[in-house]
Symmetry: D2
């Protein structure tokens, strides 16, 4: 059985699992380099049922400020028609053409629009981390100084716009909650490489180079039924540091989880988030946080298949350290 690595082991991973320089000094894509054209073609061949499943949560709710750092504010609505609006303001002595030039008093068309704002890193929004999101010893993936991520100009290197072409590859779901026969893993519960391989065996699937690996702990179901955990107090189910060499050996291209990845609390004094730190900084391995994998789990179970075409296209936001996203699994 796999032994949990010591803190010294984990610190050594920064060297032994490092992909710095592996794809050239200028590389900003990390493990996504493992997705080859042949891989994409093979992934598309997994579409045999013609059914797509979202791996994301809804963002926000009906109110303008429905979660911390999540805003949807309306810029125009359908409450008043253009002709009603023009008539009202004209009666109040305001020239409607000053406010809405080039519109007509008998205008039959109108429209609605909105502003969307989000601090997407955190515990509620499904998002992908750019390789500029996490640092270790003041360095980011590839050895670039973290100070290239600045207040005034954002991530001047390794911003999310480097992933403009998106991720199109094979996805595999490992449904650990199902393996263990639980509705959801307990806070703090972690997942060893042995668990992953047991899950592969049960599902009849094998994680290969260039895959996106999704881990279901069942947390999305727990949130729906009981609300969110106070993670700082009770901890979080997820990956332990022991999985890091396994990811490296398998050549995983990106990893998604229905929690924010790191099993917490960490058992290490100095490495609070070994998964975030080693994966992003040393390995250049992309993370997709806070997925909702309930529908995906049900679809996989129904179809008796645990692999699929996985697509994720981040917003091409210059200098951002990630992007909210709606990852799709297509069967």
């Amino acid at each position: 059985m796999t032994q949990a690595p010591t803190e010294d082991d984990v610190l050594a991973y920064f060297d032994t699992l490092s992909n710095w320089g592996r794809w050239g000094d200028d590389d900003e894509l990390g493990t996504l380099n493992l997705i080859t054209p042949a891989k994409r073609i093979a992934a598309a061949e997994l579409v045999r049922v013609g059914e797509s499943v979202s791996c994301a949560w809804d963002i926000g709710g009906p109110g303008a400020f429905s979660a911390p750092g999540v805003q949807r504010m309306m810029l125009a609505t359908g409450e008043l028609s253009m002709s009603e609006f023009r008539s009202q303001v004209a009666q109040a002595g305001i020239d409607p053409n000053r406010l809405a030039p080039d519109r007509r008093d008998d205008d039959r068309s109108s429209g609605a629009g909105d502003f969307l704002g989000v601090a997407y890193h955190g515990y509620t929004v499904t998002h992908i981390d750019a390789l500029s999101h996490v640092f270790w010893d003041g360095r980011m993936y590839g050895g670039r100084p973290s100070s290239l991520v600045t207040t005034s100009f954002g991530a001047t290197k390794q911003g999310i716009e480097t992933l403009f072409g998106g991720i199109v590859t094979r996805g595999v779901l490992l449904d650990l909650a199902r393996l263990r026969g639980e509705d959801w893993l307990k806070p703090g519960e972690s997942v060893s490489p042995d668990d992953l391989e047991a899950c592969e065996a049960q599902h009849g699937v094998h994680v290969d180079e260039g895959d996106v690996l999704l881990l279901r702990t069942g947390y999305a179901r727990k949130v729906r039924e009981h609300g969110r955990d106070d993670v700082a107090r009770v901890g979080r189910a997820g990956w332990p540091a022991a999985c890091l060499p396994w990811f490296h050996a398998r050549g995983v291209a990106a990893i998604g989880c229905d929690t924010a990845q790191d099993a917490m609390p960490s058992s290490y004094e100095h490495v609070r988030s070994p998964i975030h730190s080693v994966r992003i900084v040393a390995m250049g391995l992309w993370l997709i946080d806070n997925c909702d994998l309930e529908a995906l789990s049900q679809t996989c179970d129904r179809l008796g298949r645990w692999d699929f075409l996985f697509t994720l296209a981040p917003l091409r936001w210059v200098g951002a350290t990630g992007s909210p996203a709606n990852p799709l699994a297509t069967f």
Copy 2:
């Protein structure tokens, strides 16, 4: 040759091209109902080269407010390491644990994050319109009252979250600028059904039911070389009303363009934006505005193919009237 429809013809389209009720009274998906499982499977079979191309513009730039209504503000950066930060504030008499609890003075990890905000409707951001974006006579697609889109709660029906499963289907690019041998179409220039069919013939492609149809006018190239047009003054290349019956007959599921769709100025006194109005309100036909189709055009030309797997997954933002997006074409 196709005759341009009169304004009465266009007004009649609201009835003759209507899809209200076609997929049931509760329908919120409109023409996306035309994408069948078989269509998705066939679309995936178009992936034979293993290459993905983004159809989106970058959003914003290095500055926090780099375009109107586009914000990227940093919440944490890599400029100062956690240990430097803790040392600095401690020297100034501030308890670092009040600001950053649970972090250590010798912390070797740190991270960056940001807030992203955007008023995505408009002329710079690639986005998809929800069916709650446009109204006619106070009604939206399906006959629902426009007043269901409210200031306080957003689109209480037909918000973009109805499209949670995204769009996965065949895409076809009709490269009108290339057909005409121009770098880009002139402002106001429009595209008749005859042009579309000539373009199909030249490309050797046929637009079928359930396809996403992309129109390249070359405007993205013009923007890159000359900056944006003052659309209100000079107009815009795009679709004329004459194409509406053609979309309906072909069963197009969604339409993308490198402009904001409607050829402008409209030749009609009362129907300013026949494409937006008839397509969204009457037909429930989804629009993808402000694409950048330059890379796609070059790829199609290089591969000698004008169809591909098209994927677009909007942010699942509750009550929003659309979503910024990064549509992908995979060959």
Copy 3:
């Protein structure tokens, strides 16, 4: 003793206490018309000690999203000097002049800036309501239709910018918590005209025409010691409807409170917030919500004086329905 008005009495106040038309049909200032030049001169004469006290809470806290709808995001900081920044990005192969043109590699100056955003109506931010904030039967103060406050253009009448000249007048603090010998009034506890007059007698002060009247319930102290109440569940101390005729008779120009004004729950089935509704809509009486009156109370007690020069200058934000504010009392 004053009898609590029935619901019919309160509904009648919309007529009997109405100031519609009192200062002309175009009036947008309501009871602030009661502040005459002579009143301002007399108010300034109250400055005999030379001491100013803020009546506002701090807004937000050190974090970017420190309260719902309250944001402070940094646009530039002092973490990295300009010369360090330029050196770093240059080493990474980025031209610093592309990001920060017109700056020098040996620049010794730098600066910090931020974006401030707030949904100021609500329970935490000290603010003044414009007369466009509250409606009754679809009308606002003066009888204008509420539909003049629109999603696209804000308050096209009675926006806060109408108060560009601010409020400069005599202020009076009635310290009801002190009168009752309590640290703070209980949730739901209300304040009758008899109480107000008893408080005047105890303080040796008289509320006159054109005054700003501040009511201390002690809630700010309670918040500091125990956190905020769940107002929807336990209610709120404040004004009952019975005070409305008293405000009218005294000619109060504006009213501030350390809660959000209305004693809650209201005892009326149909008039949820008689104070907000009658005061703003019928009387055009301005409200200042969520004050922190603790320091003011201590200063008044120390100086043995309960009146002072009151100044409040709202941000001149076009079309806003109010403004966050920092009201000052100067002795």
Copy 4:
């Protein structure tokens, strides 16, 4: 006649004009310490006419994004009454109590609200700079390291909340445009100490210790008549470095201007903004940028008086590097 200081002279000002330590090592108020209680009392005695004049511009305009970094987005409006809203959504099969709990179908009250956001430093918004806004050699006023102003926590020292008690003192307007008989000073035109004293003589006023000094160049009038200058190209009227010793000698407490202060271009190679740098960093002298002094100028001229009670109360925003403001002059 005053000689323009050399660059070495200006660099020497960082020492010779320094107020570091003058009011103790913990001081965060700088020159505002010069405003004594006696000064406030005397200032209030200037209120002899009872008239208040705003020194601020309107912020924004009717649209949601009416200037770069300036937002007013509506959260609720008066377009639809609560009863109309409830009826509409109920007919669409949505439970109105899910969206708007505790409201009634026959509700007669409704309200409007908004979100206000602003990046107030810049060229359009009237604002006051906190002493954390500008650095020199990585230091801010008092010698504290600039790195105390951080991305994650804002200005952890010398944030604008340190000025919670506001500014209440004597204000003096020096109307240089009027002195020179011009509608406005030309871009780049600067103002020597001799000019200031000539202006004092013409106005019959003397700038004393603890005063707020306002300089009118007439730029606000120019903006109204001709739009804003392209400052980077044509420069800006304002203070030259030569005025710095004069401010120090007179003991000015704060300075306002209808431009962004520094005459530009600076004649110095290494000191781009001597006024901002020396005044804020060395002297701890507070700046109020982008005032609109047109109404004030007319009032002073009409009354034949150039001094008045000056009040400014910044928003108490924790960690902000300044605040938008509406300064008032009361006569």
